[in-house]
Symmetry: C2
Subunit: 248 residues, 2 copies
């Protein structure tokens, strides 16, 4: 059992930002500045590899969900990311990945292996975070909860959502099917899934295989032309619309 | 050279509906009731097989584009559809199609052949309609023009957009690649493309092959679980957002 401690608070653009820790794990909770309703839905997010909880992709999505939908949004730093220390294994895997990038070797097998390791650590952290956030009166235990994570966020999110019945809608995307496809078969909630058609790391077949694995009756795949890092910004608006439909 | 004649006018929900004819072809133009700007973008739509210009799918999309974006929206009846007479060939092809449906034979080859015939007739009609609508002061020749057609609307739209440089953004989907893929290779404007993952008539491979054929640098594919007729209504909102991004 971990306790949530708020460590800092600020506010801008009608959004309150509260840093917190749960045990050793640092996170951030964004909320509407003035809440008219007693409680509001929560979206848990997971950041991408090499990024952190307050990366602009995270705060930008939060701005849309908080200002646009009145939701709460929370992210925690993944193991070895953001304000968390790197282990010797983190350093080693990152070095192997950077070498593969530099020499043009396939990075898939390395990323799949390393992300699987991080997910094993992160899934219980996400569960503890959800436990603690649901203790807050403005979130509560009854409200709907969404999950949004692309890339490494999907590597963490698929095993998390597969065993977490409190998550009722999720946005995933841009990962290899290895390891994850078996877990995706256990997921039946509505999902939206992003895939880049000209991804230099993840083939079309691999991307489609992961989408295909989800057992969800309602699932949408958004494919866009462009390379791995060129996911269009309008997909963030689409994901916000998806959560507005399913959590409101 | 055909002249546009308005034959009826009504208004509801802040939308003006004007029936028109261009030669023998009946159409409908939906416009904002009170236009603040002098001119507004136009979206040409094409209805699906067996439907007509004022099918609820058409008027519903128009409502979103007119009320939501302030655009003009026009549809014409396809040959043999709506208020237009059927030829002996129409009757014959429809009978063959219905027989195939009833006996469970593949309808693809019949629909592809019949839609190709209809497209040959409809493409010059769409060009004449665009010529005539651009004569209207509230549309004009300078403004951006979109095209939106799914199913048979794609069979007509792909050859139309392939030879029509005035169209600057298009939403297509749910058709076989036969006949159309070669023409799609000539299309370079931004497109959004809808595909049903469990379509009982169009296989995944066929759907993906048509999407893949477009030469557009910016193209998005929206795949949803469900059968041919189960395209989710939220894809209409997505298409409206697409046109708002590209035509505004």
């Amino acid at each position: 059992m971990y306790f949530l401690q708020f460590t800092a608070e600020s506010s801008s653009n009608s959004m309150v930002e509260r840093d917190f820790t749960i045990g050793e794990v640092p996170g951030v909770l964004w909320s509407p500045a003035s809440s008219t309703a007693d409680r509001a839905p929560l979206v848990l997010m997971a950041h991408g590899g090499g990024n952190h909880k307050k990366h602009p992709a995270m705060s930008g999505r939060a701005q849309r969900l908080v200002a646009g939908c009145g939701f709460h949004v929370a992210v925690i730093d993944a193991p070895g990311h953001g304000d968390r220390p790197r282990t010797a294994l983190d350093e080693q895997e990152i070095a192997v990945m950077q070498k593969a990038m530099a020499t043009g070797e396939p990075v898939g097998p390395i990323v799949v292996r390393y992300n699987d390791h991080l997910a094993e650590l992160a899934v219980p952290e996400y569960q503890a975070t959800l436990d603690a956030l649901q203790e807050l009166p403005e979130i509560g235990t009854d409200g709907p909860v969404g999950f949004w994570g692309i890339n490494m966020g999907t590597a963490i999110g698929v095993p998390f959502v597969a065993i977490e019945p409190r998550i009722t809608a999720a946005v995933f995307g841009q990962h290899w099917p290895d390891v994850l496809a078996e877990k995706a078969k256990q997921i039946t909630i509505p999902i939206e899934f992003d895939l880049q058609w000209d991804d230099e790391h993840i083939s079309r077949e691999e991307g489609l295989a992961l989408f295909d694995a989800f057992a969800s009756k309602e699932k949408s795949l958004h494919v866009n032309s462009g390379k791995h890092k060129e996911l269009p910004r309008f997909e963030a608006d689409s994901a916000v619309g998806f959560f507005a439909r399913h959590l409101s």
